[in-house]
Amino acid sequence: MNNSYVGIDVGSISTKGVILDNNNKILASVYLWTEGNPISAVKKIIKSLELQIKGKNIVIKGIGVTGSARKLIGTILGANIVKNEITAHAVGTISIHPDVKTILEIGGQDSKIIIIEDGIVVDYAMNTLCAAGTGAFLSSQAKRLGVDVKEFGNIALESKKPTKIAARCTVFAESDLVHKAQIGYKKEDIIAGLCNAVVNNYLNNVAKEKKIKAPIVFQGGVSKNEGVVKAFEKELNEKVYVDECGHLTGAIGIAILSKKENSNIEFNLNIENIKFENKGVECKKCPNNCDIICIYKDNTLIDSWGNKCEKGDSIQPANVNQV
């Protein structure tokens, strides 16, 4: 009987799942699009994970959930740990690269930098208010240029003279890009310029005033883009490592954290046939109109959140259906 731990990272764009054994070795892993529906994405993930470990005599001793939908999914799976993605990413990366000093991460909606000293997080920063220079921006620009976003990196590498594109703000970047395309710059030069713009934006906003020391690990969906990786290396004058399983580090990290919880419960992954439903209710007791989210498992309420004051306390399980 082998103990193992499940880690799930539910991001805005993609959902990742892994199963680790006692020595943090990956037994199974899945990566798929969230498509705006975290519950169904997680159901698919669990199903696929189960298929991969079938017949291997494995007992699940912990479930950890991270990512922007962690609260919702954590409740549904009955996870023993629900943690933010910054901590999860740091723990996951340290398990792969014990000597890492800087983690750069650019995801679908957010970007962050984590500074590590002697195996612990000492500083971090995350983009605020604005999603400039993240994966979502790159993929929308790819569409505009008629290029598959997966091809983006390779095309960028072909360029010899990257075009200068304003990096400060995506609105300016976009109008710059349209303008440059119309006056006849080559497509690969524009794409390479865009990759440089993403890097400059990141270094000027998120990583501002942070000391970036080697070894540097680059993660998140955008790390799969060779053009951005090269632009980072050129700008920082250091080797930037990108892992094969870089997209899974958040999930790995949370699985490790769930192992550290040392729970003795055996978890069940059989959620495929259970009906989960989430209902948003607006409390009408004061003008604040708190949005209260209620989670139902086979029509019984298991959790609710979003309520800010005692007035909303009565809007709980039983009364919800009336509203």
């Binding site: 933010n84 910054i86 003008p287």
Partner: protein, 357 residues
């Protein structure tokens, strides 16, 4: 003649002393603006210039809700940065919306001075004598200073209360008692009574708990709604919170300590930054020296003095080895992003602490 009804914008719990002062100095009705809610912010944002900072929007929302409820005299009190011009702009916007009201600002030429304040109250209440004015103004200031003292104790300990909400409930009682203050001696008795009661609340506080300091722009620091109940969320994580910015500090202490504050900045500042920037740099340095585990800096989007302070704070953070989390608030209402960053910050300082031990 129509009955005069005064109203003013909210900031934290300070509506209690302000209401008290207005009741004593004027013969008008005092109407509290409804508590800040999402609707306040929506109303405020709708009629504000887009790039104005968030306190303007909250204030304007408060005014509109008060005017809708029948207020016809509005008050503003701001200064230091561009806040000093807000009174005029808000007045214009509200007049443009077709409301009929009188507008008074407690500050004149960006300064809060007793003489100009007296002149202003004289316009509302012609019979007001200077003695009465001074008596109640000083009494109110004393009340504020007692409230702030109690708040400092609460902030440091609320994360460790054994019984949930014991601090919150007692604070509500104290506020009720303060409303019926009769004079200096009575006020002092109330303070002593509640000070004892607060210290009697059972705590479960380890001696080496995590400590976080809050610095930053005054409104986002002091109005819990505008910072998404930052202090409440921190308290849930069992940390000791310290915050120097309060009305006592801004109105009284800061006035007499300008040079001391600049000195406290050490080599980081040679000149003052403007508004509360210098204060925050000095506070960051002092808290770092006291061994605080982390700092949280709050500012509204586009706050110029704090943006100036931020680049210096980054140096403080590096040299004094204290992590600082920066928050920028505007009229977006997604609380999750803030919670994620706060949680990660807590995890980080906890890990740092464990590593150092």
């Amino acid at each position: 003649m129509k009955k005069k009804i005064i109203s003013f914008p909210h900031m934290g719990n300070y509506y209690i002393p302000i209401k008290y002062l207005l009741t004593k100095l004027t013969n008008c009705d005092i109407m509290l603006s409804p508590p800040i809610t999402k609707k306040t912010l929506e109303l405020g944002s709708k009629y504000s210039p887009d790039f104005v900072c968030i306190p303007f929007k909250y204030n304007l929302g408060n005014y509109i809700e008060s005017l809708e409820n029948g207020a016809n005299i509005l008050m503003q009190c701001g200064g230091g940065c561009r806040y000093g011009y807000y009174a005029e702009v808000q007045q214009q916007i509200l007049k443009g919306l077709g409301y009929n009201f009188e507008f008074y600002s407690l500050t004149e030429n960006d300064k809060l001075a007793a003489i100009s304040m007296y002149r202003m109250f004289k316009k509302i209440n012609k019979k007001l004598s200077i003695v009465k004015f001074l008596y109640y103004t000083i009494l109110t200031l004393k009340m504020i200073s007692y409230m702030d003292k109690i708040d400092i104790y609460i902030r440091a300990n609320i994360g460790f209360e054994e019984e949930e909400k014991s601090f919150e409930n007692l604070l509500k009682e104290m506020h009720k008692d303060l409303e019926s203050t009769k004079g200096f001696i009575h006020l002092r008795k109330t303070y002593i009574k509640y000070n004892k009661l607060f210290r009697k609340i059972k705590l479960n506080k380890p001696s080496n708990c995590l400590k976080i300091g809050i610095i930053g722009e005054l409104y986002t620091c002091m109005e819990p709604f505008s910072n998404y109940f930052l202090e409440k969320n921190l308290a849930k994580m069992n940390v000791e919170i310290s915050r120097r910015t309060n009305v006592t500090y801004l109105v009284i202490k800061k006035r007499f300590n300008t040079k001391k504050i600049l000195r406290e900045c050490g080599n980081y500042c040679k000149y003052t930054i403007g508004a509360d920037g210098t204060d925050n740099v000095s506070e960051a340095r002092m808290l770092a020296k006291k061994g605080y585990d982390g700092l949280i800096h709050t500012k509204p989007f586009g706050c110029t003095p704090e943006i100036g302070a931020m680049s210096i704070l980054q140096k403080v953070s590096k040299k004094e080895k204290i992590p600082i989390l920066y928050f920028t608030f505007d009229s977006h209402t997604s609380e999750e992003g803030i919670k994620t960053r706060l949680e990660a910050f807590y995890d980080m300082i906890k890990m740092r602490r464990e590593n150092n031990e």
